[in-house]
């Protein structure tokens, strides 16, 4: 284990610090360069590398005694020309990508100082490649070449450095560690000014890089399986494999290691290999080879064999082969320690396996892949797309090369359109953080500049709404083969059903299903659905208040889409456009839902919501989807003229709460505001009239319209914390919804109008506007006041006065709930109110402690509406929306 430099001499530390300082300064200066500046430097570097390709290859061969001169020269050319071809037009400074439709811009930020380890197998090509990437991305690099390839690497660095500086790169942009030790590497890997370690090399170097705690690109060994499937072009496959495995004597870690061959073609393939210069080992030779070129203790290849010629290896092992033998092919019968040649062999020795089926072949490839090759490279030769796809599915490799040579294919840019590289990311399987072919983008911090986006909004309402006295007569316009009226007993008794029937065309068969006047139960829904099936209904008329209309919505859903799972559809969501559970779109039956409301509050005739209970399981199911919205709404005041006073108040206050909450919701829009504001105005004007003079047709009509209009607003903007508090409180103490809303309403207005402890994210609004919206409402109602604060206070006061006039209980205490009882209930109340989805659109994000405070305010009741003097007029109409 390296000691992070603790054992280094002061002199050595000073030397290393000097390198880092130099690189840091170079990187700092480089940060000022433009794209044009770096591109002006890169091109001559590439040309210099091309010019010196053979020279550097020769140096590498002389020093390392590994590989093939000609191939190393080609590698140097690929590392310069092909890499340049990829990077030359790539923006790497400033804005590198733009997505105007998403409001996103990506910008490049250099890393600074990169500490780079380079391998013995591809020494100069790796240096050339990394130098070009570094300049293109404005980074400085300290190189630490493999000790046995130091001279050729330092020469490559020198050539690149001199060319770069000559064309404008800062001094010190590349340095090369002189005769280094593992302690030097450890010191630099842990240095605070080193931004990234790019370790291309053996497993030790990669592990050290990743263990340093620094961001690292560690690219290590592989073990490439090849599947030679029976449909493959065998002539091409055999040449490709030989080309690849003998390229630079097999030193590229992506080169083929074990070829799995289908039984049907096995003999033919071997014959072709032999014809083209491969030696097929017999059992004894295979055993001898495995014993010699693989270290029996570690199970890894012997270093002395790396990059040597096949004939030399054979001679060393004691095998007799033809002098020009290109490749030693060793048949194996399995993968693992008992089959030593099934591991990575960076020399021209290839294991082969005879598979009896596709299944067996794929399994052996998976075994090879898992024997040291995870995340690296795999190859398949086949013309069967299904097999190719299956191979891609089961093999874990960053590069899956199809019908081309593994090593040259993986390098990219020659046989395919992959990014040219000399560093193969191996993903987590190989202990890396990328499976990419390492490229310029890995040498950059990519910054994403995201502009505020205007969220898409919506405004959805039923197709048709008929309103005012006798609007029910519009039923004549809806032909039907079979109509089912769903209603409750009381409405039938007072003649509302008959009033409806009279308006249905006489030829239409009409049946009536009576359901209890309560929140619908699953059993009731099922019965209704059975009736719809029995009568083959194509039209449903829901005549009633919220409960009846909600029941009809759910019956329609189940009738049209029997597969709908109500419990699943009730899954919570934050944004209806991004919800996880989608409502069914396939329908086995089609029906028209006409909702005729008989109360002026819930507005269920136009909302996309439905609530039911499942008594058996003791749960409440709330469904929300625009597909639930009735097709037709009839808002005819004749059905509310006889509404009792209590119901008039409860539903009227519910309507007011809908409108007020929709008005300040974070989903409010000019579309919903127009409805919310109008509804508020109508309620303040006509609710007292409807309450005090129930037979006043004008008041009833306007309140009936107000309920529908408010519902249109909250169907699209949702409600808020008032509803969350009222739901929990009403459920716990059995208080009617409207009444529960009334108890909370003044307190919630005051709460939302004050500075929030926590703001609610609201991309469509500029700043916090709830108080301004309340002030706008106060203006609309003509309440007076000069400042926003005064106007809000006046709105609170007007709301309190309205509630007083309606004789609504004004405190929870007035309901006869003792303080002790309320205190005992408080933990559950606060929890349930917080769990309620209603507040998610509230302008102020409530803390649980604030919900508790609101409950206690409602318990105490009055005392909010003391106006304060502050006479400076303020405009409130501005800045409501982005």
């Amino acid at each position: 284990m390296p000691d992070n430099g603790a054992s280094l001499s002061e002199e050595r530390i000073a030397y290393l610090e000097g390198l880092v300082r130099q690189a840091r300064t170079a990187a700092a200066i480089f940060s000022q360069c433009t794209q044009e500046d770096v591109d002006r430097i890169v091109k001559p570097m590439v040309l210099a590398g091309l010019e010196k390709a053979q020279y550097l290859a020769r140096l590498a061969i002389e020093e390392t005694r590994i590989g093939v001169l000609e191939d190393k020269a080609i590698k140097n050319m690929v590392a310069t020309e092909f890499v340049y071809n990829y990077v030359k037009d790539k923006p790497t400074v400033g804005v590198i990508r733009e997505y105007p439709e998403r409001g996103l811009v990506e910008l490049a930020e250099p890393i600074g100082v990169i500490f780079s380890l380079t391998p013995i197998t591809n020494p100069t090509s790796t240096v050339l490649f990394k130098c070009i990437m570094a300049i293109k991305t404005r980074n400085a690099v300290i190189f630490s070449p493999h000790p046995s390839a130091w001279r050729c690497c330092s020469e490559a660095v020198k050539i690149m450095y001199e060319t770069a500086v000559k064309h404008g790169a800062p001094e010190g942009v590349f340095t090369c560690l002189e005769s280094h030790t593992l302690q030097d590497n450890a010191y630099l890997m842990h240095h605070k000014d080193v931004g990234l370690i790019d370790a291309t090399g053996g497993p030790g170097a990669v592990k050290a890089a990743y263990s340093s705690g620094k961001p690292a690109l560690g690219v290590g060994p592989g073990n490439t399986p090849v599947y030679l499937e029976k449909t493959a072009d065998l002539d091409m496959a055999v040449v490709d494999i030989i080309t690849s495995k003998t390229f630079d004597n097999g030193t590229i870690c992506a080169s083929e290691q074990t070829v799995v061959i289908d039984d049907e073609i096995y003999d033919r393939v071997l014959k072709k290999f032999a014809e083209l210069g491969a030696h097929i080992c017999n059992e004894k030779e295979t055993e001898l080879l495995g014993r010699t070129v693989i270290d029996p203790t570690t199970g890894f290849m012997q270093p002395m064999a790396v990059g040597q010629k096949a004939a030399d290896i054979a001679r060393f092992v004691g095998m007799k082969v033809k002098p020009n033998t290109k490749l030693l092919i060793a048949p194996i019968k399995g993968v693992g320690r008992e089959y030593p040649l099934s591991v990575e062999k960076l020399f021209p020795v290839l294991a082969i396996y005879r598979a009896q089926s596709v299944d067996e072949a794929l399994k052996v490839c998976v075994d090879v892949n898992h024997a040291g090759g995870l995340g690296h490279t795999a190859v398949i030769f086949s013309n069967n797309d299904a097999v190719i796809r299956q191979f891609g599915d089961v093999i874990n490799a960053g590069r899956i090369i199809v019908n081309s040579p593994g090593s040259i294919g993986a390098l990219g840019g020659v046989y395919n359109d992959m990014v040219p590289t000399f560093s193969f990311g191996c993903g987590t399987g190989g202990g890396n953080n990328t499976t990419d072919n390492v490229n310029v983008y890995h040498y950059l911090n990519i910054k994403r500049m995201a502009r505020r986006a205007r969220a898409h909004m919506w405004f959805r309402v039923p197709n048709q709404i008929y309103f005012n006295m006798n609007a029910v007569e519009n039923l004549r316009n809806f032909p039907s083969r079979s109509t089912l009226i769903i209603t409750n007993p009381a409405l039938e008794q007072i003649g509302h059903v008959d009033a409806v029937r009279r308006c249905i065309p006489p030829e239409t068969p009409v049946r009536v299903t009576i359901i209890p006047d309560a929140e619908p139960d699953i059993k009731i829904v099922k019965q209704g659905v059975e009736a719809l099936h029995f009568y083959k209904a194509d039209q449903i008329i829901a005549l009633g208040g919220g409960s009846v209309i909600d029941a009809a919505k759910i019956m329609k859903l189940q009738y049209e889409s029997p597969q709908a799972d109500l419990e699943e559809l009730a899954a919570p969501f934050l944004d209806i456009r991004k919800r996880v559970v989608q409502y069914p779109t396939e329908r086995v039956n089609h029906s028209r839902l006409i909702a005729i409301s008989t109360t002026s509050g819930t507005g269920s005739e136009v909302t996309p919501f439905a609530v039911m209970t499942d008594k058996e399981r003791g749960i409440k199911v709330t469904l929300a989807d625009y597909s639930l919205t009735p097709d037709v709404a009839i808002v005819d005041p004749q059905f509310v003229m006889s509404m009792p006073k209590g119901l008039t108040v409860d539903t009227g206050v519910d309507c007011l709460t809908h409108a007020l909450e929709a008005g300040v919701s974070v989903f409010a829009s000019p579309y919903t505001d127009s409805n919310a504001m109008q509804a508020i105005r109508l309620v303040f004007k006509y609710l007292p009239e409807a309450y005090e003079h129930p037979r006043d047709e004008e008041a009833r009509t306007m309140m009936h319209n107000a309920a529908c209009i408010a519902a249109i607003a909250f169907s699209n903007a949702s409600v808020g914390v008032n509803h969350a508090l009222a739901h929990a409180f009403g459920a716990r103490f059995g208080v009617a919804h409207g009444r529960a809303n009334a108890l909370m309403l003044p307190h919630v207005i005051a709460y939302n109008a004050s500075v929030p402890t926590k703001f609610m994210p609201s991309p469509n609004q500029r700043g916090y506007i709830a108080h301004k919206k309340y002030a706008m409402i106060a203006d609309l109602l003509g309440l007076g006041g000069h400042t926003i604060e005064e106007k809000v206070a006046k709105l609170v006061a007007a709301t309190e006065q309205l509630l007083d006039r309606l004789a609504v209980p004004r405190s929870i205490a007035e309901l006869g709930i003792s303080k002790e009882e309320f205190e005992r209930a408080m933990p559950d109340l606060a929890k349930n109110a917080f769990d309620d989805p209603s507040w998610r659109s509230n302008p102020r994000m409530p803390l649980i402690s604030e919900l508790v405070e609101l409950y206690w305010s409602a318990y105490r009741g009055r005392g909010l509406s003391q106006p304060k003097a502050a006479p400076k007029p303020e405009k409130v109409e501005e800045e409501a929306y982005v």
Binding site: R24, T25, A26, A27, A28, I29, S31, Q32, G112, P170, E171, G172, D193
Partner: protein, 92 residues
């Protein structure tokens, strides 16, 4: 009792930055206050960085105060990356 010294001004032009910084460093006296006008310097190179390093070193040794004026943000960022920004005061 000490007397406050009058600040010395040094205006840098893009072609003389390294040399000017060296001269300024040589003239720096204990307790001096030097203001270096950078507004005409659009980019810095290793020579400038070395000059600033030496100037900072000298100022620290002589308890002198060096203020860089009118540094553009690209140069300022380069000074940050070179770990030099913390060794100077900045104005404008």
């Amino acid at each position: 009792m000490t007397t406050a010294k009058t600040p010395t001004y040094l205006e840098l032009k893009s072609d003389n930055v390294g040399r000017a910084l060296d001269e300024a460093r040589e003239k720096l006296e204990p307790g001096d206050e030097l203001r270096v006008e950078f507004s005409r310097v659009t980019r810095i190179d290793p020579c400038v960085v070395r000059g600033l390093e030496a100037l900072a070193q000298s100022a620290e040794e002589k308890a002198a105060k060096v203020t860089l004026r009118g540094v553009n943000v690209e140069v300022y960022k380069a000074l940050k990356l070179a770990r030099l920004a913390s060794r100077f005061s900045f104005e404008g």
